[in-house]
Structure formats: structure tokens, C-alpha cells
């Protein structure tokens, strides 16, 4: 039964990858990559049960958080062309760091 779930999720991964390649706007690609990350988490948990290795769940736990942070980071980079925030490339940043 776990194999069936793995199969469904693998097909979903292929469909999300196709949308990420084809997506007309950058937001389509971000949605597809976000879904891809969620499905990877589910696949990791299922594989941990399938191969009887509970360590995979720790990786999945970490991947959930990295997926969220990476989505927000890519979104911010697309929106402001910089990870430092709006207006950071127009002059010195408020904290004295170097602008990219």
C-alpha cells in the first residue's frame, strides 16, 4: 500500500516538474516548485516507512522548513531583485552592510 502512495506521488512530481518547465510566468514556476517540495516531503516519509529507516523523517522535517524558507526567499528575490529588501540597491543599506 505504501508503494501505491509512492506511485501516486511520483506521478505528481512529474506533473509538477512539467508545469515548472512550461510555466509562462515566474509565479507558475514558483507554485510548481513549492508543490514539488511538498511532494518530496511526502515521498521521503513514505520511503522511510517502506525501507524501515525512521531517519528519513528527520530529513523530511528539515525539508518542510527549508521549502518554506526557499519559497519566500525566491519570491522576495523575484520581487525586489535583491534579498536585502526593497531599496537596498539604491544606496547604503541602513545597517551599514554592502549592497549587492
Amino acid at each position: 500500500m505504501i508503494t501505491t502512495g509512492c506511485l501516486f506521488i511520483l506521478v505528481t512530481l512529474a506533473l509538477a516538474l512539467l508545469r515548472a518547465v512550461r510555466g509562462p510566468s515566474v509565479y507558475d514556476r514558483i507554485v510548481a516548485v513549492n508543490t514539488f517540495g511538498t511532494m518530496i516531503v511526502l515521498l521521503l516519509v513514505l520511503l522511510g516507512f517502506l525501507t524501515d529507516r525512521p531517519e528519513f523523517e528527520d530529513i523530511a522535517l528539515l525539508y518542510v522548513l527549508i521549502n518554506f524558507a526557499s519559497t519566500i526567499a525566491v519570491l522576495k528575490f523575484v520581487k525586489y531583485s535583491s534579498l536585502a529588501g526593497p531599496g537596498a540597491d539604491r544606496g547604503a543599506s541602513p545597517k551599514g552592510g554592502t549592497a549587492p
Binding site: 506521478v11 512529474a14 513549492n34 508543490t35 511538498t38 511526502l42 519570491l75 520581487k79
Partner: protein, 142 residues
């Protein structure tokens, strides 16, 4: 008792997998960023929730906290996925992507003024296009 748990767990995992598959199909076939986000959220909530619930039924709490980790994954997923989707929809809307409606894309719908316009969407879109503001603009940073 163990058989009942196995059957329940099997049903949860398979139904969750089917929901994931539906979200993938929707991601590929729906016409717009916002509708695709709607399809993606289906897999994030029902798909992930049912698959993790099925595995939780099979694992119990377990010796090395397997069930606790499953619940933690579910909680993190349920917190982060709506936040990411909301930020994405907000950014897409601020970027000027006009949502798809049943009249088609608003620039195409503008070309057929004889269409029935019950909810006034076309008139609003036409006014916005004439005024040059097809979408709310981001607030100007000082």
C-alpha cells in the same frame, strides 16, 4: 484490531495519494496562476494530511518518536503552506497579473462587449484598462 488499523491506514494513504495526483493534474491543466495555486493547496492540505494520517495510524507513537515527528511534519506543513501561498498570490497580484474569470482573461474579454455581464466584472475591467490601472499598484516606498 490490527487489521482494522491496517485497512484504515491503507485507505488514508491511497486517498491522500489520489488527492496529490489531482493537485498535480490541476497544476498542469488549470488556466491561471491563481487557479493553479488553488490546485496546489489541495495537495498541500488534504493530500499531505491524509498520507501522514495513514502513516500515523500505522506507526503509533513508536519507540523512537516516529509518530511525534509525523505530527510535527503535519503541523509545520499546515502552518507554512498557507503563508507561502498567500505571499505568492499577493506578489502575483501586485505584479499586475489579472485573475482569470469565466469570461476568459480580461484583455480578451474586453474585445467582446456584447457578452452578458451580470456581475459587472467586464465593465470594471474596461474602466480599469482605460484608466491605465489594471491591477492595484504596490505602495511607493519612500
Amino acid at each position: 484490531m490490527s487489521l482494522i488499523l491496517d485497512i484504515l491506514s491503507w485507505a488514508c494513504i491511497v486517498v491522500g495519494g489520489i488527492f496529490c495526483l489531482l493537485s498535480g493534474i490541476g497544476l498542469l491543466r488549470l488556466p491561471d496562476v491563481f487557479t493553479r495555486m488553488h490546485a496546489a493547496s489541495l495537495g498541500d492540505t488534504l493530500g499531505a494530511g491524509l498520507v501522514l494520517l495513514g502513516l500515523l495510524l500505522q506507526a503509533g507513537i513508536g519507540a523512537d518518536l516516529v509518530g511525534v515527528k509525523l505530527i510535527l511534519i503535519l503541523v509545520f506543513l499546515l502552518f507554512t503552506s498557507p503563508v507561502a501561498t498567500h505571499a505568492l498570490a499577493h506578489a502575483a497580484l501586485l505584479d499586475g497579473i489579472v485573475p482569470w474569470t469565466r469570461h476568459g482573461r480580461p484583455p480578451d474579454a474586453r474585445l467582446a462587449p456584447e457578452d452578458p455581464d451580470e456581475d459587472g466584472f467586464l465593465a470594471d475591467a474596461r474602466d480599469d484598462l482605460e484608466a491605465g490601472t489594471t491591477a492595484p499598484r504596490p505602495p511607493q516606498e519612500s
